[in-house]
Symmetry: C2
Subunit: 148 residues, 2 copies
């Protein structure tokens, strides 16, 4: 594969990623959730199972723990999450989603499903599944960070 093709592939991937992020964000806003940024969504994804610590979040998002702490401040202030004492470690605090946070997470899932559905209209569901399969095989075990 030539270098120029690799760049074209990269550009297409980045364009799709940017578009997808935008669509999910727009969909979440359209469902009535104000003041959320795309980064919050990825934080919610990490919090969803059973909460997480600030340090966990920092690693997951690929930022410093100070930045993660500020992000938690913000989503707490907006009512999407709350800080609780950690059951096993008195230093730590467990950040958990509130009901509003769960609702927002569901809205993001719906918006993502809408966006993916648009792909199915073009590619067909089989190819979208194939796409998923390819991506998970090359997806790294890495923090999800902004594309640039």
């Amino acid at each position: 594969m030539q270098n120029s093709e690799a760049i074209a592939l990269s550009a297409a991937l980045l364009a799709v990623a940017g578009e997808l992020t935008q669509r999910i964000h727009d969909g979440v806003v359209a469902r009535g959730f104000e003041g959320v940024r795309p980064a919050h969504g990825f934080a919610f994804a990490r919090l969803a199972p059973g909460g997480a610590t600030v340090t966990d979040l920092a690693v997951h998002l690929g930022v410093t723990k100070q930045a993660a702490s500020q992000l938690v401040d913000e989503i707490v202030r907006k009512g999407y999450a709350e800080r609780r004492p950690h059951p096993d470690d008195a230093r730590a605090r467990l950040v958990v989603l509130t009901e509003l946070g769960w609702a927002c997470t569901r809205a993001a899932e719906e918006a993502a499903a809408d966006a993916v559905r648009a792909w199915s209209d073009v590619l067909g569901e089989g190819e979208v599944r194939a796409l998923y399969g390819q991506l998970v095989r090359i997806a790294p075990y890495r923090p999800i960070k902004p594309a640039w």
Copy 2:
């Protein structure tokens, strides 16, 4: 396709996009180009054919023209591009790549090819081409923006 699958697909896509950007950037730096950010690469891509105006760049990158102008300041200062009078419009200025800018662009292409080659090792070249085909069919005519 369920909502949760759509989120998983989205997360995989974003993870791959972030990883790719990081790898290309690292590869460019490893080839000796300092002080460049990923956004510069996408600017270079737009400048490469025959130069572009600041306003063109702004649209392509999805930012204000002031931001694009600042970015041009930066790559001019670092020697990757230069501003020339526009041949047809005395208001406008044509931003063109210098030889250093071209060299950096080639480095980015090589780095992208390296990254894509790693995918071929996992998926095989045929599936990578299939991936490319799928992406270009769903890739929007949109500015290439950071994933978030």
